[in-house]
C-alpha cells in the first residue's frame, strides 16, 4: 500500500472517531443541555462522517487500487494526490471550527472562514475527479 493511501486511510479513521465524538456531544446536548454551540454541530457531524471518513477512505483506496494511469505515473499526478489531501482536510477542519462559531456569532469573520472552507473542499473534489478520470478505464 503506497504512503499516500496510508495517510488518507489513517486520516479517515481519525475522522470516524471525531464524527462519533461529535455525535456523543449532540446526543448529550439534547439530554443535558450543553452550551449552545454544541447544538450547531449537526452539519459538522454529518460532514466529518461522510466527507472525512467515507469519501476520504474512498479517495485513498481509489488512488491505490484503480488501474494505473501509465507505467511512469501509476497514480496519475502524485502532487495532485497530496494537494487533494491538503485541500480536503484543511477545508473540512476549517468548517468544523467555523460552522459552530459562525452560528454562535453571526456577522463575524467566521462567515468568511466558512466560505473559504467551501472553496477548499470544492477544489479537492474537482482535483480528485480530474486526477482519477484517466484511471477509470478497461485496461
Amino acid at each position: 500500500m503506497p504512503l499516500i493511501t496510508r495517510v488518507y486511510i489513517k486520516a479517515s479513521l481519525l475522522y470516524l472517531v471525531a464524527a462519533l465524538l461529535a455525535g456523543i456531544l449532540l446526543a448529550g446536548s439534547a439530554a443535558w443541555g450543553f452550551p449552545a454551540w454544541v447544538g450547531g454541530l449537526g452539519p459538522v457531524y454529518f460532514h466529518l462522517f461522510l466527507v472525512g471518513w467515507v469519501t476520504q477512505l474512498i479517495f485513498g483506496v481509489a488512488l491505490w487500487m484503480f488501474p494505473k494511469y501509465s507505467r511512469e505515473k501509476p497514480r496519475g499526478s502524485e502532487r495532485a494526490g497530496w494537494a487533494i489531501f491538503a485541500l480536503l482536510n484543511t477545508g473540512l477542519l476549517l468548517r468544523a471550527v467555523s460552522e459552530p462559531a459562525a452560528g454562535f456569532r453571526p456577522g463575524s469573520g467566521w462567515g468568511w472562514a466558512l466560505a473559504v472552507s467551501a472553496m477548499l473542499q470544492w477544489a479537492a473534489g474537482m482535483l480528485f475527479v480530474l486526477n482519477t478520470w484517466g484511471r477509470v478505464k478497461e485496461r
Binding site: V136, K137, R139
Partner: protein, 141 residues
C-alpha cells in the same frame, strides 16, 4: 475494469463534481449570503452525493472486484447490473428534481421506486458472486 464498472465510476465522479459544487455554494451562502434560493439545493446536494456518488461508486467497484464466476460468464448475469445502473441514475435524478419547487409530487415517488428497484436488482445480481474461493473441479479420469 469491465465496461459497466467504468461507466458507473465515471457517472459517480460526475455526481461527485456536481454534489461538491452544490455543497460549496450552500456552505458559502451559509457563511456569506449570496441568494436565499441556494438553500433549495440542499436536497439535490444530498441525493447526488449519497446515491449518485457513494452508492453508484460502490456498485461499480463491486461489479469489478467481487469474485468472478466459473464456469459461465465471469461477471454473471450482467444484464441485471446494467438495468440497476440505468434505474439508479434515473432514480437519483428524479428524486433530486422532485425536491425543487413546482415539481410534480409523483416524481419523488417514481425516483424512490427506481432507486429501490435498482438496489434490489443489484443485490440479486451480486448475490452469486459473494462467495468463498471455488476449488477447480476434480478431473474425471
Amino acid at each position: 475494469m469491465p465496461p459497466l464498472s467504468k461507466w458507473m465510476v465515471r457517472f459517480a465522479l460526475v455526481y461527485l463534481a456536481l454534489g461538491f459544487t452544490f455543497g460549496a455554494l450552500i456552505l458559502w451562502n451559509k457563511g456569506v449570503p449570496l441568494h436565499p434560493a441556494l438553500w433549495l439545493l440542499v436536497p439535490v446536494h444530498v441525493e447526488f452525493l449519497l446515491v449518485g456518488w457513494l452508492v453508484q461508486f460502490v456498485f461499480g467497484v463491486a461489479f469489478w472486484i467481487l469474485p468472478r464466476l466459473s464456469p459461465g460468464p465471469k461477471y454473471g448475469r450482467a444484464a441485471l447490473a446494467w438495468l440497476a445502473f440505468g434505474l439508479l441514475n434515473a432514480g437519483a435524478m428524479a428524486a433530486a428534481l422532485a425536491r425543487l419547487p413546482g415539481a410534480p409530487p409523483a416524481l419523488g415517488l417514481a425516483g424512490r421506486l427506481a432507486e429501490a428497484a435498482s438496489a434490489l436488482l443489484f443485490a440479486a445480481y451480486a448475490w452469486p458472486r459473494i462467495r468463498g474461493v471455488m476449488k477447480p473441479a476434480a478431473k474425471l479420469s
